[in-house]
């Protein structure tokens, strides 16, 4: 086998509390190989205890998220032939979340955020036989519902990655979910107060980094976050709405509820510097 057919992988290893390191492996490259194939080769031939999370191997389940050369990627969708094989390929866990071990990060915080969102709320009186929606009316909602919960957008978002905000931020994934509910043709819930005061949508400064990493090509910022921000602004910052509420003595829409937990420090904070890709991927 010639040199051109070997990929040099530098793989993040370790557990929280212990020393972490980068192990290097030379992996023979097959046609069409993806990073996850290379990691499976390592498990089967060199390091059977290498921890990596995966399921479908087809970019459908969102399990195998990590950072390849510093970029948040699905590892089952990252072709080795698209990378520069003259340089080592650095493979790391998603750095915004706490570390479990090696390439596996603890994403349970996301499930806690999800619980706080008011579920689908259909109208009580409308019999289901009468729900008639045209395909074009649901296309937008279907776009949000393509989300595979890979949490790459959460990983890349600087608000979450820097762990510096005073209050918790729900993150782009859950803005997408909320948009899917708010814009459902017959949902009657009102999540605007929640978005403003619990999810703290205001922290998002529309850098669009989340949109760039989304493997499902959801236009997170343009199609989900901006319309939600507009709804929140109309409700809370529109002087006419405000005066009207005062006059009628009505509370602000969509009560906020209990605060979200804060996302705990990610593995980025206590990891050694990699040869490459150590820099946070995006700040702007």
């Amino acid at each position: 086998m010639t040199e051109a057919h070997i990929a040099h992988l530098k793989v993040f290893r370790g557990e929280p509390g212990g020393a972490t390191r980068y192990d290097e492996f030379d992996v023979p490259v097959e046609e069409g190989m993806v990073i996850l194939d290379a990691l499976h080769w390592i498990q089967g031939n060199a390091a059977p205890d290498l921890a990596v999370r995966w399921n479908c191997k087809a970019a459908k389940c969102g399990s195998c998220s990590g950072e390849v050369n510093g970029k948040p990627r699905l590892m089952c969708k990252t072709r080795i032939s698209d990378l520069d094989l003259d340089e080592p390929i650095t493979v790391e866990p998603m750095r915004s979340f706490p570390l479990v071990r090696d390439l596996v990060s603890d994403v349970s915080w996301n499930y806690e955020v999800n619980k706080s969102i008011q579920a689908f709320t259909p109208p009580a009186g409308l019999p289901q036989e009468e729900w008639r929606w045209q395909q074009q009316d649901i296309e937008r909602v279907q776009e949000y519902r393509k989300c595979i919960e890979c949490f790459l957008c959460q990983d890349v978002c600087h608000v979450l990655r820097n762990h510096e905000t005073e209050k918790p931020f729900m993150g782009p994934r859950f803005l997408v979910r909320t948009a899917g509910l708010e814009m459902h043709p017959i949902d009657e819930g009102d999540r605007r107060g929640y978005l403003k005061d619990t999810g703290n949508i205001g922290y998002c400064n529309i850098t669009k980094c989340c949109t760039e990493v989304c493997p499902e090509h959801i236009k997170i910022t343009d199609n989900a976050i901006i319309p939600l921000k507009e709804r929140v602004a109309d409700e809370f910052y529109d002087p006419i709405q405000w005066a009207w509420r005062k006059l009628r003595g009505k509370p602000a829409a969509g009560a906020a509820g209990t605060p979200l937990p804060m996302l705990q420090g990610g593995s980025a904070s206590d990891a050694p510097a990699a040869a490459k890709g150590d820099k946070p991927t995006s700040e702007g």
Partner: protein
């Protein structure tokens, strides 16, 4: 140190469509429910389902009724299905699908704004409710949100390794956290197994690492019976290239939308393989097939009959296998599947994830050229023997639903009938388990000996120091099953496989893994290998016993269907007291005259 313990009324093992639906129903019935899964919530196999969920709602063709769905299911299953299950499934699927909409699902629409239904192999009417080619994602997300918002406790990345039994049947389950390796105990009045399939017994499969037959093996160990284990579905269209994605599924929806199969000579070979007795259900010419596709792509029906590519899966798989074997395959050992003759934007809209999958993983633009495909291990029809009404197994308090349960699909499952099966029998089993828990007076007694044995078994490979690598053993098993117990079977091969399995099993006690307990995949694999060996043996022994060809089970030495000898019986597998495997048969459940009448000339 005492083991972390979570007492519940109903423990559901598995959070795919079946487990989630069971948990929702049990919780609604007032039971305290625990839901355990090996992966993260929302990542179970159900998320990968593409084509759709079958339900005779009659939105596209009002002639479709539960009776026609029942008939198609039975005919597809070569009449070996449990008829009562097939009936309940056909009758209840429409309500279960509509209920998803009530919980927030957003299916594709017909022109008059209702849930759209697409044609699929073996279904006589357009019947599959779908969302593009990501129906499973829509379904699992909807159920997941419903389960979470109704307050069900979810234990994710937790593996159950033992169902604990006592004098009164089930008493709970033992497992461990994958993220820490720590043991955990769930005392329970009823346990529902919803662990999915067995595809990892083979090298080429559409299934993920999770499909190691855990539920089948847990039930078998607990004394429950498995049925129909000889019936493993080889899906006709998996990717064949590049090597890393070999086996990955190419949804049947490609053929449902008009995809044409050709060999390397450009011949549309499926015309040759239509079974004589069903030939009149298929188009007679390319022209007729084309008219059918044109109507179908507009969500309409026409007088044209369906294309030959929509024959049942067992038949299409054998056809592709034969074409390749006889030297008419493509360079990578498959056949061509072509949808590029349809407008590119239509293909991208109806099959977006197939478009991405080929573009990104194989550098093929399916709107411009053909895909290369070949058979892949996909689904197991066989499973835990259950009562049709409640999902209870032959062990009191132990229930099963979804792919790990047997009986519903007979000798061959129709596409789309799994997602509907999960909903219908998930709900029934959840209700059955909750009722069982409610009716139980005693608090389950968790036998400490079973717990400590389970703990020791779990720890052993870590403590052994030196020994064999589990990955190597898995590769050997998979290669052997593909070679000896694949699409076409023969006595000599099956005998040889039984010997090989025994040899592999003898090596289990020598498996050793390095590293610790925290998220250690090599260690996790040891338990899964044990299960894979149990299901592999069950498949092989059942295949040896059935001396005929039927549905997904094809014997080269018995190529005919033997209706008189085998048409009225299911294979059964159970564990003998000495731990060895017993294989027998049992009479097919009786069919009422009404149901029999629906089958018309088919029986």
């Amino acid at each position: 140190m005492p083991i972390e313990t979570h007492p519940v009324d109903v423990l559901v093992v598995g959070a795919g469509g079946a487990g989630l639906r069971a948990a929702i129903e049990a919780q609604a019935a007032g039971a305290k429910v625990g839901l355990v899964c090996k992966s993260l919530l929302g990542k179970a196999h159900t998320v990968m389902a593409e084509g759709g969920v079958a339900a005779a709602m009659g939105h596209v063709d009002p002639l479709d009724k539960w009776q026609t769905h029942f008939r198609d299911t039975m005919v597809g299953g070569k009449l070996l299905n449990n008829p009562r299950m097939a009936q309940l499934h056909a009758q209840e699927a429409p309500d279960r699908v509509r209920e998803l909409e009530l919980w927030g699902a957003v299916f594709d629409r017909t022109q008059d704004g209702r849930i759209l239904q697409r044609p699929f192999g073996g279904h006589s009417h357009p019947r599959l409710a779908h969302v593009g080619d990501r129906t499973g994602l829509e379904m699992i997300r909807t159920l997941q949100d419903r389960a979470v918002s109704s307050g069900i406790d979810v234990f994710m990345e937790c593996t159950i390794t033992k169902v604990i039994t006592g004098a009164n049947g089930v008493a709970g389950a033992f497992g461990y956290w994958r993220t820490t390796g720590a043991p955990v105990l769930f005392p329970a009045k009823a346990v529902v197994l919803a662990t999915g399939g067995i595809g990892k017994a083979y090298t080429v499969t559409s299934n993920s690492w999770e499909y190691s037959g855990d539920g089948h093996a847990l039930a078998y160990d607990a004394g429950a019976e498995l049925i129909d284990m000889e019936f493993v579905q080889f899906h006709p269209t998996g990717m064949v290239w590049p090597p890393g994605v070999k086996g990955l599924l190419v949804t049947e929806a490609v053929r449902g939308e008009g995809g044409i199969l050709r060999n390397k000579d450009g011949e549309r070979f499926m015309w040759k393989y239509l079974p004589e007795e069903r030939r009149n259900e298929y188009a007679a010419t390319d022209e007729e097939a084309k008219r059918w596709v044109e109507a179908a792509s507009k969500g309409q029906t026409s007088d044209a009959r369906r294309p030959p590519e929509l024959s049942t899966r067992d038949n299409v798989s054998r056809a592709i296998y034969t074409e390749v074997k006889e030297g008419r395959g493509t360079p990578h050992g498959g056949v061509f599947l072509d949808i590029s003759y349809l407008p590119a934007d239509h293909v991208r809209r109806k099959l977006p994830s197939m478009y991405d999958q080929f573009k990104e993983l194989a550098d093929v633009d399916i709107t411009k050229g053909p895909m290369e495909v070949g058979p892949t291990t996909h689904y197991v029809m066989g499973g835990i023997r259950v009562d049709a009404e409640t999902g209870e197994s032959t062990v009191s308090g132990l229930f099963a639903a979804g792919e790990c349960a047997g009986g519903m699909h007979g000798a061959n499952r129709l596409g789309g009938n799994s997602l509907s099966d999960l909903l219908v029998f998930g709900a029934r089993t959840g209700a059955g388990a909750a009722a069982h828990a409610k009716g139980r007076r005693d608090q389950p007694y968790v036998d400490p000996v079973q717990v400590s044995t389970s703990e020791r078994e779990l720890a052993a490979p870590l403590e052994r120091g030196a020994g064999e690598d589990p990955y190597a053993l898995q590769r050997e098993l998979q290669e052997m099953m593909g070679r000896l117990v694949g699409i076409f079977r023969v006595d000599g091969d099956l005998q040889e496989a039984i010997g090989e399995i025994a040899k592999l099993r003898a090596r289990l006690p020598n498996l050793a893994v390095r590293g610790g307990r925290v998220y250690n995949p090599g260690w996790n694999l040891v338990f899964e290998l044990r299960n894979l060996l149990i299901v592999s043996e069950a498949i092989t022994r059942s295949a040896l016993q059935r001396t005929e060809s039927r549905g997904a089970h094809s014997r080269l030495d018995f190529p005919e269907t033997d209706q008189a000898g085998w048409g009225d019986r299911n294979g059964v597998v159970r564990r003998r007291a000495d731990g060895s495997m017993e294989v027998a048969t049992t009479e097919l459940p009786a069919m009422s005259d009404e149901l029999r009448a629906l089958l018309g000339g088919a029986h």
